[in-house]
């Protein structure tokens, strides 16, 4: 197995880990973290595609690489926006979780 395939599989696993965290954690901040993890897994898949397409004396295809650079910056901007939204939500409602299903939650959220 070459390095590109190995990191591609790593990216695939990260997508799964991020998706799991996104679904199971009711805390908004942790959801944002999980979404970033998912995104970086997708970026790694792009890295694998770029590495496999190495040609013309380059170590990888520069087009997917440039797309990933753009994506990292946009992901940061989106994360900043999401965190600002979550903080405003917390300021307005005083709730730290967006879980609506109180039967699944161990702690009673309906008190607030």
């Amino acid at each position: 197995m070459n390095a590109a395939t190995l990191f591609g599989l790593c990216g695939a696993a990260l997508v799964g880990i991020g998706l799991y965290g996104l679904i199971t954690n009711p805390e908004p901040l942790r959801k944002i973290l999980a979404f970033n993890l998912l995104g970086s897994g997708v970026f790694l898949l792009f890295g694998m595609i770029a590495r496999r397409a190495a040609a013309a004396g380059l170590g990888g295809d520069p087009v997917p690489q440039a797309m990933v650079i753009t994506a990292i910056v946009v992901a940061f901007a989106a994360t900043a926006m999401a965190i600002a939204l979550v903080q405003r939500l917390a300021d307005e409602t005083g709730r730290a979780s967006i879980s609506s299903d109180s039967s699944d939650a161990v702690d009673g959220e309906g008190k607030s």
């Binding site: 591609g8 679904i23 805390e27 942790r30 990933v68 994360t79 979550v86 161990v106």
Partner: protein, 313 residues
């Protein structure tokens, strides 16, 4: 098995373990610290994939800036009982099954590459010399896909507008609340005096060298933003009020110059965002230099968050 592949396997194992721990640890603070470590490990993976430009961006923005942003968010959230809220086992089991299916699907795609791998690398290398650039990634960002790069700057500005517009009415035009971080102590102040001269030179160098070697406006701008934030957090300089004219001018200077040169392309070259023959490199360097400043200010303001205090008169 060669040393390189043992190293690769170790890096992948570390990335997966740290990545999983950002999901599984109980407190948000620990998760954020794990995420910053994860960003740095990921940049090693990018080096191993021969994408040094991406590695620099990931280390600077993915690990550093996002880590700072998330640490600020953790410090601001006052709730301590969040880790007691848990999803039930049936949901977790179902989610785990679904995620395993997604991973399996992606793994099948990874393990079965197409017979002929499509690549644009030869086309890029063929058309790079007229632009005067030596770094193919910079060539893609500023020549072949310049529209993407321009729109990305607009996205960053729109995100900043969104963050600012979430400020309460009384704080509009005020200063971002960066004092959630620790009270400045002597080591932090010393660091904030020692690092910025080196960091500023390094940031400018990264922007300059980006035309020829790995580096560029994004990475250099992030280093400059980090230096500025360090000085503000250490209390050596006040965070600017978002209504300041110079701040807003710096924010739009880069995208405006880029757009102006793009529009001039219609007159002096044959298309939008085309550079006239022989002037490509000076124009690109001018755009990159201005963009570096705009990116630095935009990223620092994004990390600082919405204004929290009204401007003192």
């Amino acid at each position: 098995m060669s040393i390189a592949s043992v190293f690769d396997i170790a890096v992948v194992a570390l990335i997966l373990a740290i990545g999983a721990s950002t999901i599984l640890v109980r407190t948000a603070f620990a998760a954020v610290v794990m995420f910053a470590v994860y960003g740095l490990l990921l940049s090693i993976a990018w080096v191993r994939l021969h994408a040094v430009d991406v590695a620099l961006t990931e280390a600077a923005i993915g690990g550093g800036m996002t880590g700072l942003l998330l640490l600020g968010a953790v410090a601001r959230s006052r709730s301590d009982d969040v880790d007691r809220v848990r999803v039930g086992y049936p949901v977790r089991l179902a989610a785990g099954g679904l995620c395993a299916l997604v991973v399996a699907g992606l793994a099948i795609v990874v393990l079965h590459p197409p017979a002929a791998v499509p690549t644009l690398a030869p086309v890029v290398m063929e058309n790079l010399p007229p632009s005067g650039l030596g770094n193919p990634v910079a060539g893609v960002l500023f020549v072949f896909r310049a529209l993407d790069t321009l729109l990305e700057k607009v996205v960053v500005l729109l995100a900043l507008l969104g963050v600012w517009s979430l400020a309460p009415d009384r704080a509009w035009g005020g200063t971002p609340g960066l004092q959630v971080y620790a009270k400045p102590d002597p080591p932090l102040i010393f660091l904030a005096q020692l690092l910025p001269p080196v960091g500023i030179v390094f940031g400018i160098y990264m922007c300059w060298v980006g035309a020829k070697d790995p580096g560029g406006a994004f990475q250099g701008g992030t280093v400059l933003a980090a230096m500025w934030l360090l000085v503000i957090v250490a209390g050596l300089q006040k965070a600017p009020a978002i209504s300041r004219l110079w701040l807003r001018g710096l924010l739009i200077a880069g995208p405006m110059l880029f757009l102006a040169i793009g529009l001039a392309g219609w007159v002096f070259a044959d298309a939008f965002l085309a550079y006239p023959e022989g002037y490509a490199k000076p124009l690109i360097v001018a755009v990159e230099a201005t963009l570096t400043l705009s990116i630095a200010v935009a990223l620092a303001m994004l990390a600082a968050g919405p204004p929290e205090r009204a401007q003192q008169q």
